[in-house]
Subunit: 536 residues, 2 copies
């Protein structure tokens, strides 16, 4: 494959220049490029599948600077990846077919970890496993926060607005970052925040620096290449304990979430949590299917009868508490007092730990990510249960919901109906709390290597985006194939925010060499080709 | 005064256009413009004092849009203020003399306050007092966070990176915001985050939306006019308690801050705090002056002898705990256990409250801002103690320090020496914790209405900025008169970050009509006039 707009000979010259910068062995062409295919692509094997033309893997920031200068000279489209593990969101494949993947996996230095000031400064090729091992080997009393799974990059994940499982602010990875180094499209290096002060002592401790706070524009975008990034780490807590809260009835979700939200907004509950329903998320039977199939998807009274007949309670959430043992006991006790306002509410104590754990103890921990321990367990556990049709991968469909029970009930009904209409097994989504003030309702969407099946799946995914937007629930992140669609729903004032993104793109990357199409931002010369706005 | 570059007749035409938009009574010229002088200007009465040429006060966002279109047509420089109370940082006067102040005080609507989801959406003219009264009158179980004093604007303060006194994230006002509406220089309205979704239900609950997170660029800058802004509010806690920790010796500051930082990074301590020294911040005597005057500003042993002779302990901090009564008791107990590692450490219980408070109880609260209650008490209390020379106002000098005792000791010595060299009374700064991971060392710098005195003060302030930067301590905010100087110290890679700001300025405000010079960002046509970089 040759990048659009380039001839074979010009492309060949450009690659030769890249080889001079990084060495022959770090420019990949031919079948090596296969490794950059997105195994979870919903466009697998179709003409629209997003494929790389080549890849280049620099080791140092100076090489990144030289590469972007070559890209400007040749109008060579680049697509930056960190560890390239962004599965479900595009993996290591570009958004714009024919791009050369700028693979930063070799830039994998852990530049600093401060134990007293609890931060890390890392390059994009560092993985969660790398950072975890570094800390554990040295016996530092620090935790990282890791998403599922742990082979990804703290830098890449934060820039994609990814999240994990320990307390806030740590699990909101962009929110827990502090300071960036960015190579702009013209090859200039910028350091943000206090990094702009040549002698700075607080680059990883104070984010704003002076003047406009810039960091956010380099996330979910293509305005620069982040080459270093700082993260706040969590000082190892003294203890952990889990406790489950169970509500009996369908409509209990209203006070359940109101109490929970109040506890979360005030910081008494500060953990990741999932709100699941033993009824909705459990196995279906004929009575279940019959209820779902009614016009309104089942009334509260009908569902309560169903739950009672099956001996199930309706809602539950497992809460995690981290901190001094006596503090978390007091928190759990307070939480139970608050929830006691709901008739029939029940509580169950869960696991508890004192830290540090030995290797042997860790080997017996089931839910490692909640302790900031990277894992690939997700691949052995949840993901194989991908339902029908049998899938080779998945995408996340993840609309943002307000923290209200009403929204959860409404979203369950609306999305279940849409999935059924699309002939996709109407699994219920799981409400999760990754961010400060909102829920994300996650649906694992199957993808396959079968063209016809994928077409059907894509049509439903597309419809889900539209239905979500119609209800005021935007998605916070999406697979490369749906970025234009998702962004097009954020259309206030004739897509004014998107047009602002385009103005920044033109100002910062006038030749449009960086990650064309990422989160719907196309360089000027490609805008006529993109799907028209408002037509997801 | 006429804006530079405009003739009297063109200016007069432009004002006539503004009158057609807002009505005659809302365009201010002549002596009315005096009200926009910065009473705390260190340039008071000098040719360089920053003065407005006129002011215009729109009531609605549509009027703001029309005003910026007129400004573009006439190349009329505008300077936006919210409530105009940014005293110590420039007040309501423009950075660029001759600008027309765009005064948003009439845009003072509280658009929404959600009790269950604990947020507010407000216009720029709303003050902390307004928002507090609104909530209190309705008996909503919500707290705001307010800085000293309470007549400022939540919008303006957050955009200036201001801070308050309740737990994080609330007291970091930019960090506690969620969602903006911005009028760009061309009159387009943009809503950020979920506000870009026309039907959004989470504009004030999820910040990122999709794509690049833009909000930060509108803070400490001049890229747009923020016309609406959301803020997370703190659900009224059950209880509050204060406790003081006292360390005896000079060098105790090292473990003292190490323990404190660990507690803060992990969230067990989450309050604003000041670290003061009864020795350094107390009254001086001859022995004190003699020690200060030594080459190294006094050794630890000498200071310990001095403190012992005066019956003083060396360091103390008052901690505040907010939350369920049993949780905060456990936190205070844990804190005491941790600090017990320092020999001689002492603890004292402080005030405690249960909420809500009655009006009568509130009238007896000394430290209102710590309970999120707006106040003007700062003017009756701290500020009159402005020292020598007698001052009519003050500026804040506020470098960012890492959370280490070493940095505090070093900064005290360095800045005391610089102040003495400038013949300004060497009051010690107070270390304060407004942000997540760093301290700010505050010095109240006197300003007067006497030209010669102000010259001396300015020279020392200028020198303090340079000395701070040389030690890696950048200032996070500064008076309008020193923005160029402060920004010029953030010079990594030949001022690459600042040049990035300028590129954004050119892209978003090509005619340079918005707040020229704010935080060192000048439009292209004025860049040749500004102080050269690197020469603060």
């Amino acid at each position: 494959m040759i990048p659009p707009g380039l001839t074979a000979s010009v492309f060949s010259q450009a690659l030769a220049e890249l080889r001079r910068i990084v060495g022959d062995e770090w420019v990949f062409t031919g079948e090596d490029v296969e490794l950059y295919r997105d195994a979870y692509s919903p466009l697998w094997g179709e003409p629209d599948e997003r494929l790389a033309s080549a890849a280049v893997a620099p080791e140092r920031v100076e090489q990144v600077q030289r590469i972007v200068r070559v890209a400007n000279a040749y109008r060579l489209p680049l697509y930056t990846i960190s560890t390239g593990r962004n599965l479900a969101y595009g993996g290591s494949a570009p958004v714009y077919s024919g791009s050369v993947v700028l693979d930063l996996k070799r830039m994998n230095r852990i530049l600093e970890v401060s134990e007293p000031n609890a931060y890390a400064l890392v390059e994009p090729g560092v993985s969660y496993f790398d950072l975890y091992r570094y800390i554990r080997e040295r016996g530092l009393k620090l935790w990282i926060d890791t998403p599922d799974p742990g082979w990804g990059s703290p830098v890449g994940n934060a820039l994609d607005h990814g999240a994990g499982y320990t307390p806030l602010p740590f699990r909101d990875h962009l929110d827990a970052h502090c300071g960036m180094e960015v190579v702009l499209a013209d090859g200039e290096i910028v350091r943000t925040g206090m990094g702009a002060l040549p002698t700075a002592r607080t680059w990883q401790q104070f984010r704003y620096g002076i003047g406009p706070f810039m960091d956010g524009i380099f996330s979910q975008s293509n305005f620069g290449i982040v080459t270093k990034m700082g993260f706040w780490l969590y000082p190892q807590p003294e203890a952990f304990r889990a406790g489950t809260v169970k509500a009996v009835k369908h409509d209990d979700i209203i006070p359940f979430v109101e109490i929970l939200a109040s506890l979360m907004y005030s910081g008494t509950v500060n953990c990741h949590l999932g709100i699941s329903s033993p009824v909705f998320n459990g196995p279906a039977d004929a009575a279940f299917d019959a209820l779902i199939a009614t016009l309104d998807g089942g009334s509260a009274a009908e569902w309560d009868r169903y739950a009672a007949a099956h001996g199930k309670h309706f809602w539950e959430t497992e809460l995690h508490f981290y901190g001094p043992a006596k503090v978390i006991e007091a928190q759990w006790s307070h939480v139970q007092e608050r929830f006691a306002a709901i008739p029939g509410i029940a509580f169950a104590d869960g696991v508890s730990y004192r830290f540090p754990l030995t290797d042997e103890q860790i080997s017996r921990v089931g839910d490692r990510v909640s302790l900031g321990i990277p894992s690939l367990g997700i691949y052995a556990g949840l993901l194989p249960q991908r339902g029908e049709p049998p899938s080779t991968g998945h995408m996340d469909f993840s609309p943002v919901l307000p923290m209200t029970g009403k929204a959860i009930l409404e979203a369950h009904k609306v999305f279940t109906r849409t999935l059924r209409e699309g002939d996709i097994e109407p699994k219920y989504g799981i409400v999760q709390s990754f961010h400060w003030r909102s829920f994300i309702l996650f649906y694992g969407f199957p993808v396959t290597h079968d063209v016809e099946t994928n077409k059907k799946i894509r049509a439903t995914y597309q419809k889900m985006i539209r239905v979500a937007a119609d209800h005021g629930w935007g998605v916070y992140r999406t697979h490369a194939a749906f970025m234009d669609s998702a962004v097009s729903t954020y259309s206030y004032n004739d897509h004014a925010l998107h047009r602002l993104h385009e103005r920044l793109k033109d100002a910062l990357d006038p030749n449009g060499i960086l990650a064309a199409g990422r989160y719907g931002i196309w360089p000027r010369h490609l805008r006529q080709d993109k799907p028209r706005r408002g037509q997801p």
